[in-house]
Symmetry: C2
Subunit: 410 residues, 2 copies
């Protein structure tokens, strides 16, 4: 059974992970920055080392293409992820999928295999969305979700313009995004959550990606003296916010989603004044669109109920709304089968985070392979996936890619 070069895979993860560290050891490679350029250069050198044709599109996505005279007219199998990071990031998020993809192709090529269709590994621009909004930008543009000319004008949090920065670092390509129509897309990624670590699962077969609804909820009460106002005459915006938080948790326990009240603010926020206003965010997610919509409706009905019982006024502002993304059942089954063949236990997973794969799912059958994140830590220097889990994931990746691309020994 062919396997990837685990030592090389791990060495490259560390090598890319060393790029963008500041004096204090904080790793940051924001999209189209100087440090990300260094990372891009490294990725391109590895693609060239594997004998791949390197193409950069107008939004800065980098593709390493393995095609031959025999298969160049067939739709390619595409794999990939991203190498941009958040501020003070870990070294696995995104990078594992790009390095793993190069490793898979290099392994196949070096072993003298041939493929029925081209295999392409992509490194998509600005997945994290820290410097330029929105996130998953490169894959979204590639899938036709946003016009490239508009997106290149995006102004960053630092006042820079994305198109100018891409040009400056030498990664403004001339090819139109979407120039290759993939037959399918597969992404290897760390879980970024604790489930596989807690359950001792080695390979996650990611069958879907949660829908995300964000809203900012404003509750208006009446500021009054905390000592002189009896309970029955209070209109306590903070208490209503607390009730919403508790209600949400019970709601998603039933629906199987997750809910988070990340931000809260009281006005006047004084110890002896009943809050006249509470502003809170609600992050509601569910892999099932019907359940997500139903939870949101139930929540809205609860707002009405609270207006009656607690005499507050509640308004809600939509901040984000992404539908859940179902992945391709056929690919998910291939991932399960490949893991089983290597004696690795698997679990169906939902991606809780956004991914390039969710954008590629717009244009072709798509799925993801997850490997564990110890303690679920991510977007943090403590992000960690054990070496053996990285290698196991890359081998399952190799097997799935081989089957889907029709790889054979010559």
């Amino acid at each position: 059974m062919l396997s990837v070069n685990g030592a090389r895979l791990l060495e490259r993860i560390n090598e890319l992970g060393a790029i963008g560290k500041d004096e204090e050891g904080r790793r940051t490679r924001l999209a189209a920055s100087d440090t990300e350029k260094q990372g891009r250069d490294k990725v391109v050198s590895w693609m060239k080392d594997a004998g791949l044709k390197v193409v950069v599109d107008r939004i800065g996505n980098i593709f390493g293409i393995w095609e031959t005279e025999e298969n160049k007219d067939k739709k390619p199998l595409m794999v990939g992820s991203h190498i941009d990071t958040v501020i003070n990031a870990g070294q696995y998020d995104g990078c594992l999928g790009v390095i793993g993809g190069i490793e898979v192709i290099k392994t196949l090529k070096d072993a003298g295999y041939q493929s029925e269709r081209p295999i392409v590994v992509g490194a998509f621009t600005n997945e994290e969305g820290v410097r330029y909004s929105p996130d998953m930008m490169g894959s979204l543009v590639y899938a036709g979700g946003l016009p490239v000319d508009e997106v290149l004008k995006t102004v960053g949090t630092d006042g820079t313009i994305l198109g100018e920065e891409l040009k400056r670092i030498g990664y403004e390509g001339t090819v139109e995004p979407g120039f290759l129509q993939p037959e399918a897309f597969v992404e290897l990624h760390i879980e970024q959550g604790p489930i596989m670590d807690v359950e001792g699962v080695k390979i996650g077969a990611v069958e879907n990606l949660q829908g995300i609804h964000w809203q900012r909820v404003t509750i208006e009460g009446v500021a009054n003296h905390a000592g002189t106002t009896p309970t029955n005459l209070r209109v306590d915006a903070g208490l209503a916010a607390a009730k919403i938080n508790v209600f949400l948790r019970e709601l998603v326990k039933k629906s199987g989603g997750v809910a988070t009240v990340g931000c809260i603010e009281h006005e006047p926020n004084a110890i002896n004044v009943i809050p006249s206003k509470a502003i809170m965010t609600v992050d509601l997610r569910n892999p099932n669109k019907e359940k997500l919509d139903a939870d949101e409706k139930t929540l809205a009905a609860y707002f009405k109920e609270l207006e009656e019982t607690d005499h507050v006024k509640i308004s809600s502002e939509r901040l984000t709304e992404f539908d859940p993304v179902p992945f391709d059942e056929g690919i998910v089954k291939k991932i399960e089968a490949a893991a089983a063949a290597r004696g690795l236990n698997t679990r169906r997973m939902t991606s809780g985070a956004g991914q390039d794969a969710q954008m590629m799912a717009r244009i072709c059958p798509t799925a993801m392979i997850f490997v564990p994140s110890i303690k679920g830590i991510s977007h943090n220097p403590k992000e960690y996936t054990p070496d053996e889990d990285c290698v196991a994931g890359a081998n399952v990746f190799l097997d799935v890619v081989s089957e889907m691309a029709g790889v054979q020994q010559k």
Copy 2:
């Protein structure tokens, strides 16, 4: 039946209320400030107009004393309140009690009555505690609760020293606080809460003052990704804070106290991150010490329960602890009887706010008379007590004082 001069009472409330207004009409007379000096001068002029002997003690409390050769060796009946204000204040809080006290004595004197014991009206320094801490300072010092020499060194929020400011405005007296040992103390005051307005009650017979426990509660959870962390693996400090708020409300519904979560803060306070920390204040009040202590114990037990169920860590820091103050039942009954005799409905009341009377209760039998605050608004320019209610309160005050001091026609 003798009655106060209602027109004069109301005119003086307006006259004192006009002092300390800035260009924008915001009324502010912070303790020992230039504007409060103007208010003090006005009060002293009214005391002198009533033929009272004016004495200022070392902490700046002003007393107007009506005594005669016949009664000067008897313990006086003392009444009074304060004329310092919060920032952007109403015109009734405190002032009604001082002006009402002067009015009661002037009414008795002008009608040719005599009194078995001296009647003293006091205007206590710095009841509000906005510029200098603590609040109820003048009455607390008068009652022996703090040493005057220490308190005079108090540094204000504006960097000034209380003793120097009192000297500057000409109200650093030479008499020791506590120089008169009162037989009893009665304070006329606005409710500062909504109960009497809502229930249509004209006279509140204040039987006690709530105990106040303040604590700052810190809940430690674990910051994690709002999307990738399943509900059963969350340690959500914000949710625990919400549960505490909801629990508190149910707790005081049973005990008859009030509870307020005025301040709250989440860390990191990001929309898609489970809060790792929540810091909240708890303001817990009850007129009954046993119930207040019991509520606090139940709350502490709930913290332990949450540590088990929600895996958070909870710590609490004591900020303030005042025991409840029971007032004198005999005086409370006199207030009820006097109101009934004038055809005014009454209600036993608990003072939700701190008062000079709570300090005077340390050294003599004490009670308070409340008149309604429309909509419970106080510490606000919209603070309002209808004219007829002010006059009604002053007349009940007159009757109670007359009975307690042994007032008779000559």
